[in-house]
């Protein structure tokens, strides 16, 4: 699930730790969707004269410091013009303090900006954040919103390294690092909901969806896919299109799984499970009607 371009440098960290005092360079970064969505929201709410917005990324580091998990982000005020760049440090500190009260595990790992141009100001801000995350390295996530013409939406992550004989804060090289989207399985359903919403007309969906309705959509999708496969197989059999051998093998492997198993044992297991499920359904209804009766009885007066 690589988010960024394939040009990212995949750093193979050496297993020999010669100098434990110097933390290792992060070699992979994962981002939680909520961090990305907060950045997009911040971008939407920018003032007209702001070409880009920046903010702080919060997250956790793996024990050996090679992986960084970006868990959330918040907006930080900043202003930049031709002469200078200013970041509201006090605001950044306040927000970090507020965030750490709810999620104490998350620490500052770096900063984000929208758009994908890296300039001197980026280096300066990077320098500032490196002080915040010391002794660890700060990461920079550049999110291209795709709102400007000719640019594609995407996420890039960088670590910085000083450049020049005398390292100056305004000079540095941004080294790309592979970045992936990561979330817990339980959150998957929420993202599915959002992608469904994005596809629906006028970008809204009514809630709550019952699990039955949800199941219905999933089953319908599966049926459509089966029909597509069936149509393809028929076409191949009729000689209309040339069959793909790899695809045929794959289909055989997938559909072959279902056929394995004894007939009798399966039926017995099915019946046993059916009885259990019906029993649970009966119990649930019983409990609910008892609760209803009990609440009505409370209203009865002699």
């Amino acid at each position: 699930m690589a988010l960024g371009g394939s040009s990212a440098l995949h750093i193979q960290s050496s297993t020999i730790s010669s100098a434990p005092a110097v933390p290792r360079t992060p070699s992979s970064i994962t981002i939680h969707p909520v961090a990305l969505f907060s950045i997009l929201d911040h971008y939407l709410r920018r003032t007209d004269d702001q070409p880009r917005v920046i903010g702080t990324l919060l997250g956790t580091r793996s024990p050996d410091n090679t992986q960084i998990h970006v868990r959330s982000s918040f907006a930080v005020l900043h202003s930049e013009n031709d002469e200078q760049v200013a970041v509201d440090m006090e605001y950044h500190r306040t927000m970090y303090e507020l965030h750490s009260r709810v999620t104490p595990k998350e620490t500052i790992v770096g900063w984000y900006s929208t758009g994908s141009n890296l300039n001197t100001y980026s280096a300066l801000i990077q320098n500032f954040y490196s002080q915040e995350t010391a002794p660890h390295q700060a990461i920079h996530v550049a999110l291209n919103t795709g709102a400007e013409e000719g640019e594609e939406a995407g996420v890039q992550a960088y670590v910085s390294s000083p450049v020049g004989v005398f390292p100056k804060p305004e000079n540095c090289i941004f080294v790309p690092v592979p970045v992936r989207l990561q979330f817990h399985d339980a959150e998957r359903a929420g993202l599915d909901l959002l992608t469904q919403t994005a596809l629906s007309p006028n970008s809204t969906t009514a809630q709550p969806v019952t699990s039955i309705a949800n199941l219905d959509t999933a089953l319908n999708t599966v049926m459509q896919m089966l029909e597509r496969v069936l149509a393809y197989v028929r076409q191949v059999l009729a000689g209309e299109v040339e069959g793909d051998k790899a695809l045929g093998r794959y289909l055989m492997d997938t559909l072959g799984v279902a056929a394995i198993g004894e007939k009798g044992g399966e039926d017995m297991a099915f019946n046993a499970s059916l009885q259990d499920t019906l029993m649970i359904s009966y119990l649930a209804n019983l409990v609910r009607s008892q609760a209803e009766v009990s609440s009505r009885l409370a209203l009865v007066t002699s």
């Binding site: 909520v34 919403t197 809630q207 709550p208 699990s211 198993g261 499920t277 649930a284 209804n285 609440s295």
Partner: protein
Amino acid sequence: MAATSMAAALAASLPAPTAAPTPVAPTYEAIPASMSKVIDIEAEIPLQVVQLDGLVVTKILKHAREASSATVHGLLLGLDLDGTLEVSNSFALPHHVSDEDEKSAKSSARYQSSMLRSLREVQADDSVVGFYQATTLGAFFNQNLVEIQAIHQDKLRHGGVVIVHDLSLTARGNASFRAFRLTPSFLNAYKKCNFSTSSLVNHRLTFSSILEEIPLQVRINPLLGSFLGSLTKSTPSLLPDATPESATVSVLPPSFSALDLGTTGLTRNLEQIIEAVDNYRTEEGNLAYLSRQIARERARADNYVAKRKEENLARVAQDLAPLPEEDVARLFKIPAEPSRLESMLLLGQIDAYGKSLEGTASSGLIKMYSVKAAST
């Protein structure tokens, strides 16, 4: 409160500011309290639908999953316009160790106000419109929810809403969000702190009439929509001889978690029902004990009054001055009738657990039959 949100509502309804620079920055004066009722037109329009932004959906999901405690709370920010309550942002509230603690309540208030101030600085919505709560297996009825919501109902316009998110449903592939607010009849009884039997009868209160559901919509803005579009877009793999399952690469491949056949959480659900029923039994036992005590005290008082009356009759017959009868209330302390709120909420919980069990069972049946159909 009303004054600031009105200003925000007005600002939102205005067309986007044009490029022409405004000569003089307008000055805002606080609307006097006497006028705010008249000016606040939005408060007159009844709330029809709650619109939840995609960002809030992910924020609630993340907070609910990561939180250590069973119930998590957070505040919802947004504004209401023309009957639609737009929830555009949210933030999590720190978990209290002890609710009674004066100090923690104060620090929580400080946390809220400084968070709101900070959010205002980056042009985010900063008016509180309600709160959210995460729960498991649909049982969101508890004293805490009712208390917070009752406070909000007084302070916020439209009384605020509570958005309930069910974690266990989400784990099963159906992200569920529902919006509620307290019904007027419940609020009426709550304000009087009176949940005796007669009050329940008067207000026709059962657990199902504590909260009323408001329709909820999930909305995502076009920018987020296009971004999600590019995340779910599948691109052909770069590898030349990729197997069919890895031929296309997508950041967010489609999932079919709704078709998962496992029935995890079913035992937990049954356990929860038993626990709730046990709690309810204890509560009912307490209520019965108290009402017996009341009946006993009342009988003793009645006895005493009757005796005194008899005595007085006898004294009148003997031409003596009758003894006073007023000190009955002082002699016998009849306890107040117990509150039935807790038992009502417990019943609501039992009902919710039953409902979620029913949902699991019915979708389980469908899955079983579809598997049977697929395997034959």
